[in-house]
């Protein structure tokens, strides 16, 4: 698997063919965020945060009431908008969702990994747990922030908190992949709230299994 150098990433950012272009926008400091000689692009903290609040809906179960599940996901979070120049504090052991300031779109022959920056890691901040980004993804990346340290951390929108490593994706014949995920759950999404836990097929099978083994 080939990892793109910063120069290769820059070339893909300027690709004339829209379909093959890698989009990371806005790159507020392109030289600073994509340093020559490296193999990654730094991404910044955006303006919207979702704080998990104590809830009256009980446990999260996709089988509790399938029709209502998206609503209960929404109820899990309290949204907080933090503009440039303001901050939000993540307390020890607190969990919250955040977004990249950058909007990202991957062409069909690139995938990426999002990795927390070491400096933040040393302060106790875990940035991302679902780190793989598939070809064809379009949207703002969601960070799953958790402060594992013992000190509250003040987070400012615009701070660089993570980096993206890009890899080429090839087809079976070794050529650049041309097929992107047609039904990617989060393609084009700018929202952080999860939409579903399982695919329709998995959901249906699991539901049947639950009914089969829990029938009275």
């Amino acid at each position: 698997m080939t990892t793109l150098s910063t120069n290769a990433i820059r070339t893909r950012l300027l690709h004339k063919d829209v379909a093959k272009r890698l989009v990371i926008s806005p790159l507020l400091d392109d030289k600073g965020q994509a340093k020559a000689g490296n193999a990654a692009v730094d991404v910044r903290l955006g303006f919207d945060f979702c704080l998990v609040t104590a809830s009256s809906i009980g446990s999260i179960s996709e089988f509790a009431d399938p029709d209502q599940q998206p609503l209960s996901f929404t109820k899990l979070y309290r949204r907080e908008y933090v503009p440039f120049g303001s901050s939000i504090v993540i307390h020890p052991h607190q969990f919250m969702l955040a977004q990249t300031l950058e909007y990202l779109r991957l062409p069909s022959d690139l995938m990426a990994y999002v990795v927390g920056r070491s400096t933040w890691g040393r302060l106790g901040l875990i940035v991302a747990t679902a780190i793989g980004i598939h070809p064809g993804f379009a949207g703002s990346l969601t960070f799953e922030l958790r402060n594992l340290g013992e000190t509250p951390l003040k987070l400012f929108p615009g701070q660089t908190v993570a980096q993206l490593f890009f890899h080429e994706v090839t087809d079976a014949d070794g050529k650049p992949a041309t097929e992107r995920a047609a039904e990617a759950q989060y393609a084009g999404t700018v929202d952080m709230v999860p939409k579903r836990i399982s695919s329709k097929m998995t959901h249906g099978r699991l539901l049947k299994l639950i009914k089969r083994f829990n029938a009275t």
Partner: protein, 437 residues
């Protein structure tokens, strides 16, 4: 309560409200002093009660201005329009869940002249540039981003006094109009005197102000304003839209189409060349009711409004059509002289409906654009036009968001709205970043 960005309007207003409450409490404190005579205390308590009442009333005015109600992303770009238009009044934007765009003025500076006004109230009053302006837009499901081009019309009202159309070539048209009104009134056994002349002037002024505001909206965002205004009038309007405050909707639409098609390289030609869609009165507002011939219109209007107003409105239509070019020319001249970078042009539309529109169809919001001089944030007017072009001509090419409920077209529109909001938010982020170099 979080207000969008660092927008100062709502905060200044809240400080003013706090100052009024504080002053009311001050009156109560004086009333409670043992040295205050009972009859004076009663008056002071009454005054305190009035201050309390005003404070709560004024507090309501800011409802809908917080970031959970109005899409917070749009406020800073609107404020840039305000600043570049030279509007120095304290302003805030708020949303309500109604199909309503409105510019509202309030001058409450006299409160600081109260006998026992506190320092807080005096300071808050001084910090406000009066009169305060409040712009209302529809919120939540009624607030699709491209529709916000109508805000240009409301800001046009804020500068309407500065636009000076030259009606001297239209004096004969004016006297003809007055003659027609007189004839119609007399034919209906009504008099035509000074009261009617005053009423004509009031209605003419109202209509001219509306057309000035339309002209400013058109200058700020071109076709996006046309689509947004006509779509809104079709949705919100009942009847023909004609009355003592507004000219009829079909006339306003007709005048906008005229100005969109003015010149060799015009908006209509560019839009059609880039999207295949010809802008006409069937686009986005096909159900606007057209005014019938004058006699039939007069009969209909008389059912709902005074005959004098009905006669004036019916006969003003022809006059408004004749003077409209002068109004649009005055708006264009003012904006091109004072804030030329705000005037949206067919050349810019040509650029916007090229790659940025193609990118939106593959889910990339028009956040910034690259030219020979580097990368620049996309202007609000460009985002609005790209949005309308996508909504009207490209929804079939956009992916249907999977895993969500509802009608596929509605889902795509919702996604388009979200991507455009993202574009507005992030283009503003780039702008702020560059301003802090």
């Amino acid at each position: 309560m979080a207000f969008p960005g660092h927008h100062p309007g709502p905060r200044k207003w809240l400080k003013f409200v706090a100052g009024i409450l504080e002053t009311g409490r001050g009156y109560l404190s004086i009333a409670a002093k043992p040295t205050t005579k009972p009859q004076d205390a009663a008056k002071l308590i009454q005054t305190a009660e009035q201050f309390g009442g005003y404070a709560y009333e004024f507090l309501q005015y800011v409802a809908g201005a917080d970031a959970t109600q109005i899409p917070h992303q749009v406020v800073a770009p609107f404020q840039r329009w305000v600043d570049r238009l030279g509007i120095t009044n304290t302003i805030f934007f708020r949303a309500e869940h109604l199909p309503n765009y409105e510019l509202w003025w309030l001058d409450a500076r006299n409160f600081s002249a109260a006998a026992h006004a506190t320092t807080g109230l005096t300071k808050a009053t001084t910090a406000i540039s009066w009169p305060v302006l409040r712009v209302t837009v529809p919120g939540h499901a009624m607030g699709m981003l491209p529709h916000y081009a109508v805000v240009g019309h409301e800001l046009g009202h804020a500068i309407q006094e500065r636009l000076k159309p030259d009606f001297t070539p239209n004096q004969k048209d004016q006297s003809d109009c007055y003659d027609r009104i007189e004839t119609r009134l007399k034919a209906n056994n009504m008099t035509f005197g000074s009261a009617e002349r005053v009423r004509i002037k009031e209605i003419v002024d109202n209509w001219v102000d509306e057309l000035k505001a339309d002209a400013v909206g058109h200058a700020l965002s071109g076709p996006a304003f046309f689509f947004a205004l006509c779509g809104f009038l079709e949705l919100a309007g009942q009847g023909y839209g004609i009355g003592h405050t507004h000219p009829p909707t079909d006339l306003r639409r007709e005048l906008l189409i005229q100005h969109l098609s003015a010149g060799a390289s015009n908006f209509i030609n560019v839009f059609q060349a880039k999207t295949g869609l010809k802008i006409d009165d069937a686009v986005n507002s096909p159900h606007v009711r057209r005014c019938p011939p004058p006699d039939a219109l007069f009969t209909e209007l008389c059912k709902a409004q005074p005959k004098v107003d009905a006669a004036i409105c019916v006969e003003l239509i022809a006059y408004a059509r004749v003077v409209a070019p002068a109004i649009f020319a005055a708006a264009d001249a003012y904006l091109k002289t004072n804030c030329p970078e705000l005037v949206y042009t067919p050349e810019q539309l040509q650029i916007d409906l090229g790659e940025p529109l193609d990118l939106l169809c593959v889910l990339v919001p028009p956040i910034e654009y690259r030219d020979a001089n580097g990368v620049h944030p996309t202007a609000l007017a460009s985002i609005l036009n790209i949005g309308w072009a996508a909504l009207l001509t490209r929804l079939d090419r956009m992916d249907d968001p999977s895993g969500q409920f509802g009608d596929p077209t509605a889902r795509k529109m919702e996604r388009c709205h979200e991507l455009l909001l993202k574009a507005v938010e992030l283009s503003e982020a780039r702008r702020l970043w560059e301003e802090c170099k």
